[in-house]
């Protein structure tokens, strides 16, 4: 009882703060927590006409149905391959780009490079996809170049072997520059005296980058890597929707697009919720695991 009145007094003291929290609480309850609760339809045979409560329990039926379908293997393979490709090429490229920008001595040139490289981040994904399609079309500049060099026209957007490369490299075009900001911010915190000592020892610019700059941004790289690893079972829904087509489904289709086709287009709510739930659980597990590994190995973690 005493405890309750104490809590009551504490709340009363800041009652206006709680009033300010109302919009946020409403928002998270309505558009985050209610859907989390609604995700239970993955275990029910949901019929919109009778509602969640009246729909009968079916247990793991929909999960089993998904795991036993041909799509399960295909979606997992596509998701993982695209992410590994992007991790290997995109992530590395972003870090390398940050190191290069950091080495530019002319302030004006640095500003120019940053302005140009950040720009694509603000272009909408729809326009990006439009650019990709127009550049890679049979009459586009890339095919013109290929023909000029004596090659055959490639129908990039229809070839499933090209899809992942297109996906990853268009991502680099759009976001590698923007991704450098975090690293450049970390680089400004490096102690200047380290460089001064290295210069006094006669270390070349390359050696300074190798032995001072790179070790100093490693913690940031690791944090970004954990965050990235947490998304290893997610491939951007937006870009996939825009770039894939029936001809490239085999290499392009990922969980989110599959959920969209089965759930929104096909109205198979319970089945598609089960697929989505499986993906959410997988994502959560990965981020927890990678965070733990990183904490153990490097003492760096998200929480």
């Amino acid at each position: 009882m005493h405890y309750l009145t104490q809590a009551g007094r504490k709340i009363g003291k800041n009652k206006f703060l709680y009033i300010m929290l109302v919009p946020m609480v409403l928002y998270y309850v309505l558009f985050h927590y209610m859907p989390m609760y609604g995700a239970q339809i993955a275990f029910r045979d949901y019929l919109p006409s009778i509602g969640i409560w009246e729909s009968p329990w079916v247990g793991m039926t929909y999960f089993k149905q998904f795991f036993n379908s041909v799509y399960f293997g295909r979606l997992m393979r596509n998701t993982l391959l695209i992410n590994l490709y992007d991790l290997l090429v995109g992530f590395t490229f972003t870090v390398a780009l940050a190191l290069l920008i950091n080495e530019v001595t002319s302030r004006r040139y640095k500003k120019f490079v940053q302005t140009v490289l950040y720009m694509p981040h603000f272009i909408s994904v729809v326009v990006l996809a439009g650019l990709v399609v127009s550049f890679l079309s049979p009459s586009g500049p890339i095919n013109n170049l290929i023909r000029m060099l004596g090659g055959e026209t490639i129908r990039f957007m229809q070839e499933k072997t090209w899809y992942r490369t297109i996906f990853v490299f268009s991502g680099i075009w759009q976001d590698a520059g923007w991704g450098t900001i975090v690293y450049l911010a970390a680089l400004t915190n490096i102690d200047i005296s380290l460089y001064e000592a290295a210069i006094a020892d006669g270390a070349s610019r390359f050696k300074r980058m190798l032995y001072i700059t790179i070790p100093c941004i490693m913690p940031t790289v690791i944090v970004m890597l954990i965050l990235r690893m947490g998304n290893i079972f997610t491939v951007g829904f937006e870009k996939t929707m825009l770039l894939y087509n029936e001809l490239t489904y085999e290499t392009a289709d990922v969980i989110a697009t599959y959920v969209y086709r089965r759930g929104i287009i096909g109205a198979e709510y319970s089945f598609s919720t089960a697929v989505g739930l499986y993906n959410s659980v997988l994502n959560l597990a990965t981020i927890v695991i990678f965070n733990a590994i990183s904490k153990k190995a490097n003492d760096i973690g998200l929480w």
Partner: protein, 293 residues
């Protein structure tokens, strides 16, 4: 010591860096310049692939047909409305809720912070959210593209960490002694001190809403309510060019093909025009997020 004569190794190193970065800039800029040039060129020359960098046979035929495209302009109007209202809703919700989240002396401080952060790692998924939006009777309403993503948790945390680092708690204590309540204090003192971060928020939310097309795709049914990006998607990617060309240009397939370049320009111009002036605010926002993250 920085004036020491450069060694040959350093000169080579520097040259390599400048060459790579200049190449990267060209790769980024070339597609944008080419699209703009193609949109100002003679459609015939564009189709033959003769426009390589600068416009050839300069003319505005393509833009004339874009002007006649009533559906495009209607969607443009929708996007402007959604962006204005959406940004206003998002920025005020974020600015107001982030303040209590920054007050460590509030009872339940940890709980409310966790309440928001948890949603970054756990979600119900696309379908339960869709069903929820439909239960709330928001389908096909303007609010369906604004409310379900009204608060970005990332932005909320950026905002919160701005408050906790830039508003010294001493001012708050002093104000409390003077009998100033929390809402009063927030409006009179905190908000005026936060104008720079509010600008960042307006930009982040504004660009996001301008470029958004997934929520409209899921929740809007009526084509008259479609925002620009959805109509763009049809023009650019679904080869529906013939259906949207007005009668006047149905015989001009070439313009139908090249109209794509002009719509890309028309839809991206507002953002790219503002971008150079606002770049530093965007970068500031990301850095604040990074410090916390």
């Amino acid at each position: 010591m920085f004036f020491k004569k450069k060694s040959t190794g350093d000169i080579i190193f520097e040259t390599i860096i400048y060459v790579i970065l200049t190449a990267a800039c060209i790769v980024v800029l070339y597609p944008l310049i080419l699209i703009a040039s193609q949109s100002f060129s003679d459609p015939f020359l564009v189709m033959r692939g003769e426009v390589k960098l600068l416009p050839k046979g300069f003319n505005l035929k393509i833009y004339q047909s874009v002007l006649q495209h009533s559906e495009l302009w209607n969607s443009y109007k929708n996007t402007i409305i959604y962006t204005f209202i959406g940004t206003a809703v998002s920025v005020s919700a974020t600015a107001i809720s982030a303040y209590p989240l920054s007050r460590k002396d509030m009872y339940g401080y940890k709980f409310f912070n966790l309440f928001a952060i948890v949603t970054m790692f756990i979600s119900g998924g696309m379908i339960p959210l869709y069903l929820q939006v439909s239960n709330l009777n928001l389908i096909n309403s303007m609010w369906s593209v604004i409310l379900p993503s009204a608060i970005s948790t990332f932005n909320l945390i950026v905002m919160k960490s701005f408050y906790s680092t830039s508003i010294p708690s001493e001012i708050n204590d002093a104000a409390a002694i003077d009998g100033c309540n929390d809402i009063h204090f927030f409006v009179k003192i905190v908000l005026p001190l936060s104008s720079s971060i509010l600008a960042v928020m307006v930009l982040f939310y504004g660009v996001r809403q301008w470029n958004s097309w997934v929520s409209p795709l899921l929740y809007l049914v009526d084509r008259k309510k479609y925002p620009l990006q959805l109509i763009l998607r049809e023009i650019l990617l679904q080869n529906q060019v013939s259906s949207l060309s007005d009668a006047a240009l149905s015989d001009q397939i070439m313009i139908g093909e090249t109209i794509k370049y002009a719509v890309m320009v028309v839809s991206t111009i507002p953002i790219l025009c503002l971008y150079p002036f606002l770049q530093k605010y965007f970068v500031k926002g990301v850095m604040m997020g990074a410090l916390k993250g």
